[in-house]
Amino acid sequence: MTKDIILAGVGGQGILTIATIIGTAAVKRGWHLKQAEVHGMSQRGGDVQSHLRLSDRPIHSDLIPLGKADMILSVEPMESLRYLPYLHAEGWIIANRTPFKNIANYPEIENIYKEIEAIPNHVLIDADVIAKEVKASRAMNIVMLGAAIKHLGFTKAEIEEAIKAIFARKGEAIVEANYRALQAGIDS
């Protein structure tokens, strides 16, 4: 069993937190993990991605080969499309609807949605709105994770355990908010 996931977004949107949570759950299962991150200049508002590889066998490359990713999980709609060369034909694209507009020439959003909807296996949700609805406005990334987990083959309990392990030191309220965001993502 192998899962290759591209996490996408803009610097500061919290994709590394998603990677940490999935990674923690995978390690708990005794799986191998490699997670390549982007640090440095690109983190200043540029596009960022993380290659997250999970497997019950040893993993060699830190990078996912082009055409081999099982999923692109993107917290920003346009950024989900930037990594299509990595997605295999049956792969899933799971994207947030809310654009992050820090560039002057951000394209017409409907054209972005059209491209995402053209991918056979896609999920497009408004994670920012959903997060606000469940009073967890800073956990948009966890809503996205919730929307992704059934396609990743993880149970809600496994992910909750990982969330608890990671957020426990920030207090019960933060853990609970993330649980709500996760559930809302699963229900979306």
Binding site: A36, H60, D62, P65, M78, L84, I112
Partner: protein, 533 residues
Amino acid sequence: MEKLMLLGDEALAQGALDAGVSGFYAYPGTPSTEIVEYVQRSKQAADAGVHRTWSSNEKTAVESAIGMSYAGKRTMTTMKHVGLNVAADPFMNSAFTGANGGLIVTVADDPSMHSSQNEQDSRFYGKFAMIPVLEPSNQQECYDMAFYGFELSEKYHIPVMIRLTTRLSHSRSGIVRRNPLAQNPLKKPDDLFQFMLLPAISRKKYKNLIQMQAKYTMEAVQSPFNKFDMEASDYSMGIIACGLAYNYLMENYVDGKVPYPVIKICQYPIPQDQIRELYNKCDSLLILEEGMPIVEEMLTGINLQGLKPIHGRLDGTLDRDGELNPNKVARALGKVDTYGKDVPEVVTSRPPALCVGCPHSDSFYALNDAVAEFGRGHVFSDIGCYTLGFMPPYNAINSCVDMGASITMAKGAADSGHFPAIAVIGDSTFAHSGMTGLLDCVFDNSNVVVVILDNATTGMTGGQDYTAAGKLEQICEGLGVHKDHIRVFIPFKKNHDDMVRIYKEEIAYQGVSVIIPRRECLQVLKKKNKMEG
């Protein structure tokens, strides 16, 4: 034992801590920064009193590390590839002095220039200095090589280089730890001539270094990190895979069985006899290297006609520049390549940019207005977040070469009559390599305006503290800049007109001026507020 999930950088740091290191010396630089950041967070390091504060630059860092090694302790100095250029003098000479306590020089290269001004391969420096080089292929090897590197260094009294690249530095995986070792006791060198590089002594040392090469090669042959899989089913090609490139090779064989003989090189000097054997056995060779084709060049030499083909970056089998990936290696192996779909045209680029509300942006807008009458081409700049001032909407700067070059380039231009000559440098970069340049300006009374953007941190690498924090005016005055021409303002939009006026006054002044726009980095401020809140 439970596995730790660590970045390659962090695995190396934890390895060094467990191997009894007494001190780290470094200046931040992507992709090496996380090594010392990890140590600064580590309770183990604090409890053991491991030195872990930042140095002013890579040269002072390497020199301090040599000093700690002199005292008999294990020490590691870390830097990005261009940092080794800054530290090249002590680094090259450390091969002559050798080590007393274990000395590891860790250099993180950035092929494809994710966050760097050039691409260079530090293995050349290792070969240049004639010291052993270790190149881990995964996070566990990063950890293990800290132990191994210190042992090797102390066995032969020689500094050892560990060469990382971005993908390993910044990729996370599981690490199994070993039992920690105690730190070395203080112990002076047995030979008090060891660190005395006078010509008469150095000549002997050089002969000795040359003699030792055979031993270093023998260590590479016996290294637990090198592998010689000479038995195979297909001898039409033999493969040499160095460091991280080994993973991309194995990625292309899901069952782990490569049909060709393979030499994995993670320790240098290259094992020559084994490579010769591979060459004799096979019809051709494929060389896979992350970075520059150093091994390939050693093998192809001057490309004599009639030899068997050697494929790699030099003959175009692999791209000559940029980092490797599984697909490039698949094509080089003649395997079917995979690809998803093209990026739709609607996707536009999203380059990095200064944060909204960044103090640098206000400093740049005012500077642009102040120099508008002279046209563009008057602002020399440097390495840091503010290098993004080159991008629209600022278009404010005209050069970025190396740490500190803004001041000295402005000086050279001013000396030739170029007016105005303005340098824009960050506060941390000024501490790194700007002070001596400013002294040059004062010595000649060069007609320059030096703008030191003071955001109270090393911003681009994520907000580390630095050695000159809180002392900028004192330093400039101490270097001889007249205090009437050390001007400080707070870069806010509402202060725009005052800022423009101050820039203009100092441009008009014939001599050395320093202007310090001072406002804290927003990222650091955010982090602080988070911790307090």
